[in-house]
Amino acid sequence: MLSTKLLYIPGVVLILTGIPLAFFPAWLRRSIIITLPPLLLLHMWTFSGGDIHVTWLGYKLTLLHLSSTGLLFASVFMFALWAGSLFALQDASPLELGSAFIYAGGAIGICLCADWITLFCYWELMALSSTLIVWCGKQQDSWRAGLRYLLIHLAGGVALLAGIGALAAAGGSLELGRLAPGGYAYWLILAGILLNAGAPPFSFWVADAYPQASPSGMVFLSAFTTKTAVFVLITAFAGANVLIPIGIYMAIYGIIYALLEQDIRRILAYSIVNQVGFMLVAVGVGTPDTLNGAQAHAVAHILYKMVLLMGAGVIMRSLGTTKARELGGALWHKMPWTTACILVGAAASMGVPFTSSFVTKSVVLSGLADAGMGFVWVLMLVCSATVVFNAGGRFPWLALFAPTATSAATSKVDAPKVTDPKGLALFAMLAGALLCLVIGWFPQSLYSALPHTAIYQPYTFGHILEQVQILAVAGALFWLTRRVLYPSASITLDTDWFLRVAVLRTWQWFSSGLATSYAKSIELLTSSQMRSYMLIFILHGPRGILARSWYTGSIALWVAVMLASYIILYNLNAIPGLNVLQQLLGR
């Protein structure tokens, strides 16, 4: 029976529980959140039933296929869902929890399916549910940021759909696997996926939308969308060289914008772009080593970013803000556990030896070196060093230790609710931090889960020495420049300017009903920037030529015109060799 088989698919189970989750009574929701993800994790690793197929529209869809890459991503996603929702239980809305389950279900579904159509279904589901999570943030700009986020992701979905359509139309197999380069299908699918990975020119959506989510919402968001894109890139676009410049751009973009940012959660968001860029470069090079490294690093990145974001979330819950200038310094002694976890996470992000990304990042770097990519290797080395300037050094410093900029902020810190989280939330944070360390201590356990056999040995004298050098220099530079780079109360322009100002200004203009006022519209018509918009409006607006009610007589006249032109056209077309439209349309 297919319907019972569906319950073997972890993604489907999560989605099916996610839909009613928001409506369950609190105790039931709580127990599902605590028990379901570990059970599914266990199920994934013990399942031996083989692939699950269905036939849909004449295509054979593979709903469940356990590849080693997919299993690795799915497992870490499952852990992210579990820890994230434990952390969220304290104050997240039921809607957010339900959406998170659907969102994670989509991500896990993608990792465990093996055809493009199923992937696309999950893909759209992720876009919708993650938008809901952004909206659940209920911050000042959550609403509009969510809209921008949705718009971009739907556009990406459209590109992906067109690509998949082209793939099917070309008679290609819809199985999820390495795509042959070239052709519309290849580029459209790549564009759709890169959009989700935060590639230029739309990299801004990560830092635009994520920090608008709730403290726990951002934990979910950081884990799934970009990393799912990385998974698909690994599966289908390994070795696509175009990814290398894109990845380099993202890595540098992430560093620079993070440096200019004052909101600690936005710093982390930019750091996501930076790290995903790092993974993209690895995928683009596409040797077994770099692919291994990309996967391993994705796992490490999800884990430490989660810990850091939980820490930022705790601060946000306590103080109600995440702007560095308002945090009021010296938070560390008020929340020792959080500080410890953040420090572990930060260390892991920098790749301090015996933490997770030390054992993963160096796989990528040595892979790059072995592949003969000297220039890229240098750039990536710099990028990995400059992590100190965002997630690694600057973030904990701004969040916990930096002196306050405003006197009002100091009093905030003394409020009684500024404490460590309790119970499950603390447990989730500690579990994440612990995993960061465990991976660092026992790298072979992670390596053994990678698809290509890895012979990398992280703990050699040379490796440790090189990492210490990097960190020492970067750390020293950070300490020297920390005052110069202390954030000012400002924002930094990005390509979202076009969405937020150029497009939205016109959009707001008509939705606010200005359009109905005739005098005003004439006035606007004369201003040059409105002219092109007015053209659309004259044609399509509520009183536009194409929208208004016509006189019956003029429609009837129109009919006569149509009749005449149809007869003429048909007659002309009927003359052999004189096929007007055929020639007009060029076919």
């Binding site: 007589g553 006249l557 009749l563 005449a564």
Partner: protein, 331 residues
Amino acid sequence: MELIIDITLLTFLGLTALAINRIDKLFCIIMLSGIYSLLCASLFVSMDAVDVAFTEAAVGTGIATVLLLSTIGATDTQQRSAPQRPLFALLVVCATGAILVYGTMDMPAFGDPDAPIHHHVAPRYLEMSQQEVGSDNIVTSILSSYRGFDTLGETVVIFTAGLSVVGLIGFRGMQKFGDRQRAAGITQDDMGKHLVLRIVIKMFIPLILLFALYVQFHGDFGPGGGFQAGVIFASGFIFYTLMFGLDAAMRVVSPRTLSYIAALGVLTYGGVGITTLLMGGNFLDYNVLRPDPLQGQHLGIFLIELGVGTTVFSIMVLIFFAFSSRKGLRQ
């Protein structure tokens, strides 16, 4: 000779159409459209389509004119100025017309005996209908038997028209109107004062009704049938209403009763079909109604024509009542 008559009639037809377009007095337009229908009917006669001519005369010239007249009672008599510039429209229509003339050049010539329509289905009707249906009037046998289902559809169209008027205007206005008239002691319209007319009409009405019945039952043998009969029967009632007032007419037959009769008419037609189904034939296969197929056909055609007649009659009167009562409300 026939050609000259055709040309004359067509010229008049064109002139009338032009006149209708030019004049903006609604009353004149209605009168002219009556004339237009009459000219059409004459053309049909000259084409030997007597049944069609009969229907056109009864419906187009007769009842449609009366209905339109009763409508302008509720509106203005002057047309408001047209919103369009007519010159452009004229150009477009002329151009389209020219193209249409070009487009129909391959059509079989008028009255061409070799035209395909005379060689495929029509001969069979001409040769076989006598034996298969048994009716002397081939038109009737085509309408009621060969294409009886179309006629059922047409009956439903008439029924729908009536329902539309009832649905959009409703009964309530009429009943109120009746109540008010009674309260004011008015029993007749102003027309009632014309003594001569009253007496003549009184004499005519039975004749009209009788003629309608003749047309109804004579459809098998000559021009006639349910549609024409229903219209003529209804015009008798309309005469009565015009002379003696809406109230009096409604006392003879109320709108509600009329709607029942209309529904029953359609049901009669459909019922014959259902009966044939139940008796083992196809829908509207009259052959099975009686042991002798020809007798079955005869019975079936008789019944369905009755259904058509009652429906047409009641709907026509109903529409007239509805429009007249609107006029009453306005006053």
